[in-house]
């Protein structure tokens, strides 16, 4: 009896859940029909299917005498260990969307952003993408991380949805014709770092500490090591760590010290880098540290003595203290809204929206175009535009999806990033 009851209850719960899952679009459709006449502005955005999007677009047009809504879906990790990056990209994108809407939108269309959590898991990323499809997304701003971006790009290629990733840096992220990116690719960063160190004669003996379980980190390291062979310095030690084991770096540091390294290359994210700097200072290992864009944000780490970061060099497309108008405006707005200094991911997120805007204006996108049409038009327009963004001036793209922009090297001096 007990068992029967239990299975009954569970089965009931399951069907209920299934119904809510399946019924969600039907539900919003009807509610949509209800709200259509009353408030056509923001509320109609709940449309779940292609047709209703068009309908709501029509009513929005009538109400605002504009070109309807343009729906941008975003995907990134908003919970868990990598949440910093996803949230930053989301906030950056949101600021750009607000600015664009205040200035009259894209081709008269109101822009709407829906950012979904993927928990840094490729499988969840696909779920997030499907949820966005149900919502009626027309282009995709994502994913923030490489592995998720690769997984989702297989689906966007199938559906022909235009995808622009802010920070998916692995080579495969833009393998499909419909995918483009804002950031540098990992190989690019690795090679550029090696060239920078070699050409500027920063050191002759270089040690590397990298995260072998991370796509970003090992991707940069491989190209760095390959390019180092052509440069005037040699790699004297390469210490790897993994995501499960990233609090104690004394072994890797000791290895670098014993090998007589003059410079330590850190192609890793800033959380681990801050620990490395602290532990290096504790063991009296005084060398130059050089990193990539992942080190950006190191000055904001809680309980981290920023004086230790003095003299750290990094290759990054974005520096929060740059004095150009665009950066100053972005940093002020971000600070007001979210109470912190934006990092590079936020800047990437911001640039994604403006790049979509530039491409959409070039291609003359309107809200009643289908996702496939938008994708074809935007992919074409991407190769023709040049964008002045936070992460570079005059960024251009070729058909492969790779951006062309100059890396900026900055050094931390007196607690701020200073251009070199």
């Amino acid at each position: 009896m007990k068992k029967k009851m239990l299975s009954l209850v569970l089965a009931g719960a399951m069907t209920a859940a299934m119904l809510t899952g399946c019924g969600s679009d039907a539900g919003t459709e009807t509610s949509d029909a209800g709200t259509e006449t009353s408030d056509a502005g923001a509320e109609t955005s709940e449309a779940a299917t292609e047709d209703t999007t068009e309908e709501s677009a029509d009513t929005a047009e009538a109400a605002q005498s504009s070109g309807g809504t343009f729906k941008i879906g975003g995907i990134g990790p908003l919970t868990g260990g990598a949440a910093v990056y996803g949230i930053a990209a989301m906030n950056g994108s949101q600021i750009a969307v607000d600015e664009i809407n205040a200035a009259g939108g894209i081709n008269g269309m109101t822009v709407e952003l829906n950012f979904q959590d993927d928990e840094l898991d490729a499988e969840k990323s696909i779920n997030a993408y499907n949820a966005l499809k149900d919502w009626g997304a027309q282009v995709l701003d994502g994913c923030v991380t490489s592995a998720c971006s690769i997984a989702v790009s297989a689906k966007t290629a199938e559906d022909q949805m235009f995808q622009l990733t802010p920070s998916g840096s692995a080579v495969e992220c833009v393998a499909n014709d419909n995918a483009f990116r804002i950031c540098f690719s990992d190989p690019n960063q690795g090679a550029a770092s090696a060239q920078y160190i070699g050409e500027n004669g920063l050191a002759s003996k270089v040690a590397v500490i990298y995260d072998s379980s991370d796509v970003y980190s090992s991707g940069i390291y491989e190209k760095f090591a390959a390019e180092a062979a052509n440069q005037s310095f040699e790699i004297v030690s390469a210490g790897a760590f993994t995501a499960d084991n990233k609090t104690d770096f004394s072994v890797q540091l000791q290895q670098a010290k014993d090998a007589g390294a003059e410079l330590v290359f850190l192609p890793i994210y800033y959380t681990e880098a801050s620990l490395i700097l602290t532990q290096a200072a504790d063991m009296g290992f005084d060398v130059t540290f050089f990193g990539c864009d992942g080190l950006d944000g190191i000055l904001n780490v809680e309980n981290f003595d920023t004086s230790l970061a003095e003299g750290v060099m990094l290759l990054t497309p974005f520096a929060a203290d740059a004095t150009d108008d665009l950066t100053v405006k972005f940093v002020t707005t971000y600070n007001e809204k979210y109470g912190e200094t934006p990092n590079q991911f936020a800047a990437d997120g911001y640039d994604v929206i403006y790049t979509i805007k530039a491409a959409a204006e070039k291609a003359g996108i309107t809200a009643d175009m289908s996702t496939e049409e938008i994708c074809a038009a935007l992919s074409q327009a991407m190769t023709e535009i040049s964008v002045d963004g936070l992460t570079g001036e005059g960024i251009t793209w070729d058909a492969s999806g790779e951006p062309t922009k100059a890396p900026k090297a900055v050094v931390i001096k007196d607690g701020v990033y200073t251009a070199m």
């Binding site: 009896m1 007990k2 068992k3 009851m5 239990l6 299975s7 569970l10 089965a11 719960a13 399951m14 859940a17 299934m18 809510t20 899952g21 399946c22 019924g23 969600s24 679009d25 039907a26 779940a48 908003l78 919970t79 868990g80 979904q116 959590d117 928990e119 840094l120 898991d121 490729a122 499988e123 696909i126 779920n127 997030a128 993408y129 499907n130 949820a131 499809k133 149900d134 592995a147 690769i150 997984a151 790009s153 297989a154 692995a170 495969e172 995260d211 072998s212 379980s213 991370d214 796509v215 090992s218 991707g219 390291y221 491989e222 090591a225 390959a226 993994t242 995501a243 499960d244």
Partner: protein, 353 residues
């Protein structure tokens, strides 16, 4: 007509439930009533149902707590993904996926067997801890593994992609932490459901077989089982290996649903092992049908809650705790019983009146 035995009837209900669910979903999909979100979840449902049923064999029937099933899933996923990638052009997709399934299941069974030899000498908590360690070891080895193929054959290293020393025409199959990229998307819902039915067929028949009864006798009283001449190590190993190989099948399904495969703590770490254990415990230890329902429910729940944005995971965990209390707390069981009696009682009263 011959009367069916109670277990046969019970098993038929389980098969029927799966087939019915399949038919309903297919009908809904063909009439366009299913959102893309749920459609995208159909294959993950199958994956987790299979692995939950597989773990239930270890936890419920063998009576040992395994926290390493994500590791076996990982082995199945990677071995099959490498195979499919290497023969992407050479074989038609149906045959390739079938072979990939066999390879994934065999690889996971082999690892399960090897892990089982030392692990099954332990009992209770110690066994759980050691399986947890083996699961992590598998994940970390795969994260450090580089495998490539070129005209000279297979290349393999634990250092980095450069030390593979491949010819120009070479292809890197496993790129360390970057995993396998470009696996063909061969899984679909129909294949998933067929695999669930095969899994159920294997597990349910195993339980009701001579071997299954021997395994259960070991679970209930090891000394008594030994005294009647049951080879404890052998039967334990059989159950554990079958369970591992079925987890490998789930891994194959997982790998062929995504075009990228990484061994992250999130998908193949102990978090996943514990998640699978949660499916089993919530569904009822030893209750195969319960595992199926719990796996589907708990995979669906966080996705249905997407509308709550930031509070999603919070609500999800609260629901988990509430369900756990409802299912297992003695007070809740008593309350349910009383509620059930009142319900049945009132019905009976109505009937009489």
């Amino acid at each position: 007509m011959k009367k069916l035995s109670k277990t046969t009837k019970n098993n038929l209900i389980t098969y029927g439930m799966v087939i019915l669910a399949y038919i309903i979903v297919q009908l809904l999909v063909s009439t366009g009533h299913v959102s893309s979100l749920v459609q995208g979840l159909l294959v993950p449902f199958c994956t987790y149902v299979i692995v939950a049923v597989a773990l239930n064999l270890t936890v419920g029937i063998l009576g040992e707590l395994s926290l390493g099933h994500a590791g076996f899933m990982c082995v199945g996923a990677f071995s099959s993904a490498v195979f499919s990638l290497a023969f992407k052009e050479a074989l038609p997709s149906g045959l390739r996926f079938f072979l990939a399934l066999l390879i994934g299941a065999a690889a996971a069974a082999l690892i399960g067997f090897l892990v089982g030899i030392p692990v099954l000498r332990l009992k209770g908590d110690y066994l759980a801890i050691v399986t947890l360690a083996f699961g992590e070891i598998i994940k970390n080895i795969i994260n450090a593994l580089y495998l490539g193929v070129d005209s000279n054959g297979l290349h393999f290293t634990m250092k980095d992609a450069l030390s593979l020393n491949m010819e120009e025409d070479g292809m890197v199959l496993i790129k360390g932490a970057q995993g396998v990229t470009g696996t063909p998307n061969d899984s679909n819902f129909t294949i998933g459901v067929i695999l669930i039915l095969v899994t159920l067929f294997i597990v349910l028949n195993f339980i009701n077989s001579r071997t299954g009864r021997a395994v259960m006798s070991i679970r209930d009283n090891r000394i008594a089982a030994e005294s009647v001449g049951i080879n404890v190590t052998k039967y334990k190993l059989i159950a554990f290996t079958v369970s591992a190989s079925l987890a490998g099948v789930a891994g194959v399904l997982y790998a062929h649903n995504l075009s990228t495969l990484n061994a992250l703590p999130k998908n193949f770490g102990y978090n996943m092992s514990i998640m699978i254990l949660v499916f089993v415990v919530l569904g009822g230890i030893g209750n195969i049908r319960g595992s199926i329902i719990a796996a589907v429910l708990l995979t669906l729940l966080p996705e249905v809650l997407r509308g709550l944005s930031d509070y999603r995971m919070l609500i999800y965990s609260i629901v988990l705790i509430a369900m756990m209390i409802f299912n297992w707390s003695p007070n809740a069981i008593f309350f349910r019983k009383r509620l059930g009696q009142r319900f049945v009682g009132s019905k009976r009263a109505k009937k009489e009146a």
